[in-house]
């Protein structure tokens, strides 16, 4: 047990218990001492008042009947049970009468109140061998302590230089101290017991759960991301903590999974063109295609690398947008102008593949806060997709771009009449990085267009929604309400 003590002291429970115990004990001690000293001084004040009255009475007796009457009164009073201390001594301090047999030397030399309690012995109480008048030692052997008492007294001198002492035993404050001491011991005992209880409940039970949480954490850090922290179902703080940490772990696992998927996709989507690039160069080297052939191979190589650079730029841009760069580039822009520009830019290309692209005049300007280039990029990706997929439409392929204002939010709506994405989960997946739905595998593209558009919308505090069209797909780019002017 003694060997394990330091380890126990390292637990929060033991430290808390010890700390609480010490703190409460200190408070109790201070309080008790304050109370006792207050009561003791009150008792003393009371005692002194009694003595004062007594002295006044004796004074009256002396004036009425002189010394003999005074002596008589004193003797009479001395015999009463629980009497005060009375003493008459001659000018040299020799005791003449009273109920005091002996007292500390030097007490009678001063006049007025004794400045501190002194020890005395009453008549008939002391053991025979200790009858000498001067008890010099306060720290007397234990046997005589019972018969010696502490007292305070008022000492006055009669006109004939005789000394009169009236005092009172301090037994009451002493008893009080005894009571206090017992109470204090009891209280400290209770507190020590309470400390142990606290240690038991906090340490043995609550902190054990923290240990179990930290054990589970260790397992998870060890690589087991599927591990979760224990939840007891008590619904207390520990359960809430565990639940929150579990949610966090789920999120981390999700991000981790996403990252893994992205790197798989990157590996796949970049490896394919890189391999193609290499094969082409190799084939050109292996044969003897002549200058024109070499030129063609090199040009194809350059075109392929350009596509790779584009893909890289898109990946970089998405991660930068997701990291959320400074909104410094965000200014007031006219969405209608951007829509007009992008539609105008794409119109010839759409016509080339037989797609009509129309953008009914929005009728004025729609101002939003944003980055013109980024929004144009997002819109061009969406329009590009719409053209690409509606061109396979059975009916007259058409893409319609319009601006809608609703509930203070401004949206750009791009609707095509192509095959659309009938499945809800597919529509959700379509904006993920490198995700190319089965139907689109045959179409050229990096699989990053919509994820870049989504990242751009998120960056602007807006959202990108893919909705089922009738027929085809409708993409909504919704911007948040403008900040106040």
């Amino acid at each position: 047990m003694t060997l394990r003590l330091p380890a126990i002291m390292r637990t929060t429970a033991a430290r808390l218990s010890a700390l609480y115990f010490i703190l409460f004990a200190l408070c109790a001690i201070v309080l008790v001492f304050y109370m006792t000293s207050l009561s003791a001084s009150m008792l003393t004040a009371q005692t002194m008042e009694t003595i004062n009255e007594e002295v006044q009475g004796l004074d009256r007796a002396y004036r009425r009947g002189g010394l003999p009457f005074l002596v008589r009164v004193i003797e009479q009073r001395s015999r009463q049970p629980g009497a005060n201390l009375y003493l008459i001594a001659d000018a040299n301090g020799r005791i003449l009468t009273g109920n005091v047999e002996s007292l500390e030397p030097g007490v009678l030399e001063s006049e007025g109140w004794t400045d501190r309690p002194f020890m005395y012995q009453r008549y008939g109480e002391g053991s025979s061998e200790r009858r000498q008048p001067n008890v010099s030692d306060i720290e007397a052997p234990a046997t005589s302590i019972e018969t010696r008492h502490a007292a305070i007294a008022l000492i006055s001198r009669l006109p004939n230089q005789m000394i009169v002492l009236v005092g009172r035993d301090l037994g009451e404050p002493e008893r009080l101290q005894g009571v206090v001491k017992r109470a204090l011991t009891f209280a400290l005992g209770i507190m020590a017991f309470g400390g142990l209880l606290i240690w038991y409940f906090v340490g043995r039970r609550a902190l054990k759960r923290i240990d179990s949480v930290s054990d589970a954490g260790k397992r998870i850090m060890g690589g087991d991301l599927t591990g979760r922290l224990p939840v007891t179902g008590a619904g207390d703080e520990f359960d809430r903590l565990s639940e929150n940490l579990n949610t966090m772990l789920t999120r981390i696992a999700g991000l981790n999974e996403g990252l893994r998927q992205v790197s798989d996709n990157i590996a796949h989507d970049l490896k394919t063109p890189l391999t193609r690039l290499r094969n082409r160069a190799e084939a050109a080297l292996a044969g003897d295609p002549g200058e024109a052939g070499y030129r063609e191979a090199l040009e194809a190589t350059i075109a392929e690398s350009d596509r790779l650079i584009k893909t890289f730029n898109a990946i970089l841009m998405i991660s930068r947008l997701e990291a959320g760069y400074s909104a410094e580039a965000s200014v007031r822009i006219d969405l209608a102008a951007v829509v007009h520009d992008v539609v105008e830019l794409y119109e010839p290309a759409a016509e080339e593949v037989g797609v009509t692209i129309e953008a009914p005049d929005a009728g004025g300007s729609f101002f939003i806060d944003g980055n013109r280039e980024l929004i144009a990029q997002a819109l061009s990706n969406i329009v590009d997709n719409a053209i690409k997929y509606s061109s396979s439409s059975s009916q007259a392929p058409a893409v319609k771009v319009s601006i809608i204002e609703k509930d203070g939010e401004t949206s750009v709506r791009v609707a095509d009449n192509g095959p659309g994405i009938p499945d809800q989960s597919d529509r959700e997946r379509a904006t993920e990085r490198f995700v190319r739905l089965e139907q689109s595998r045959s179409q050229p593209g990096s699989g990053l267009g919509l994820s870049l558009a989504k990242a751009i919308m998120k960056f602007h505090g807006g959202r990108l929604e893919l909705l089922p069209g009738e027929p085809g797909l409708t993409v909504m780019m919704t911007f948040p309400k403008r900040r106040s002017e």
Partner: protein, 224 residues
């Protein structure tokens, strides 16, 4: 053309020096900002290519320092940062063009050639002439062999840009930036369709091709 390359990446700098040399230009390399600044101060370069992140002195500070001393040598900033507001800060610091790594050398070369200060004297001219093609910037008319050609406003601006840089390669992104005033990356080659439409209008019915496609790079307007 004399080109100053301020780039700390040895491999990239050596590659640029060699590639510019093969393209018929003289290129000098400075490997840090201070050296680059000292070389640029001589004012003997036609174009500078400056990396943004440089040892000893940041690229933007080099440009700002040169500009404050009255040096107007065109600067193309190379940056690995490539965020949209980076581009804005770069151009604001006194850069004339901005290119993000990774880039294609053909793109860089085309941009540097267009930036060449000896060639960019056409700003003041009101009539551009390339061979038998004539463009009047004031009356917005285009004629070839004296025959007027009707162009859409965008086609006119496209041709105007091509003619200002006649004999030089202009890339698709340069066209998008200068004719449409956008710096994004269209997924499909939308610019090509615009160019081919323009080509149809200025070449159809005429003997010789004048708007050439430079494979792997872009376009060039050049009289036969």
């Amino acid at each position: 053309m004399k080109i100053l390359i301020i780039e700390d990446d040895r491999e990239a700098a050596d590659y640029l020096e060699k590639a510019f040399g093969e393209a018929g230009h003289t290129a000098h390399v400075a490997r840090d900002g201070e050296t680059g600044f000292a070389l640029a101060e001589s004012g003997e370069y036609d174009v500078m290519v400056v990396d943004r992140m440089l040892p000893r002195r940041d690229g933007l500070s080099v440009i700002a320092g040169l500009r404050s001393r009255g040096n107007t040598t065109p600067v193309l900033i190379l940056s690995a940062l490539g965020e949209v507001d980076d581009r804005v800060t770069g151009l604001r610091a006194g850069g004339d063009d901005y290119l993000t790594k990774p880039y294609a050398f053909s793109e860089l070369l085309a941009r540097v050639e267009v930036l060449n200060r000896r060639a960019t004297s056409k700003e003041a001219e009101t009539i551009y002439r390339t061979g038998d093609l004539e463009l009047d910037r004031l009356s917005h008319t285009v004629k070839r062999c004296g025959k007027e050609i009707t162009l859409q406003p965008r086609e006119f601006r496209l041709l105007e840009y091509l003619m200002r840089h006649a004999g030089q390669v202009v890339t698709r992104t340069m066209l998008l930036e200068n004719v449409w005033d956008y710096h994004f990356d269209p997924q499909t080659n939308v610019i090509d369709v615009h160019v081919s439409r323009l080509r149809g209008k200025i070449e159809k019915g005429f003997d010789s091709p004048i708007l050439h496609t430079i494979r792997g790079a872009g376009y060039m307007l050049k009289a036969a």
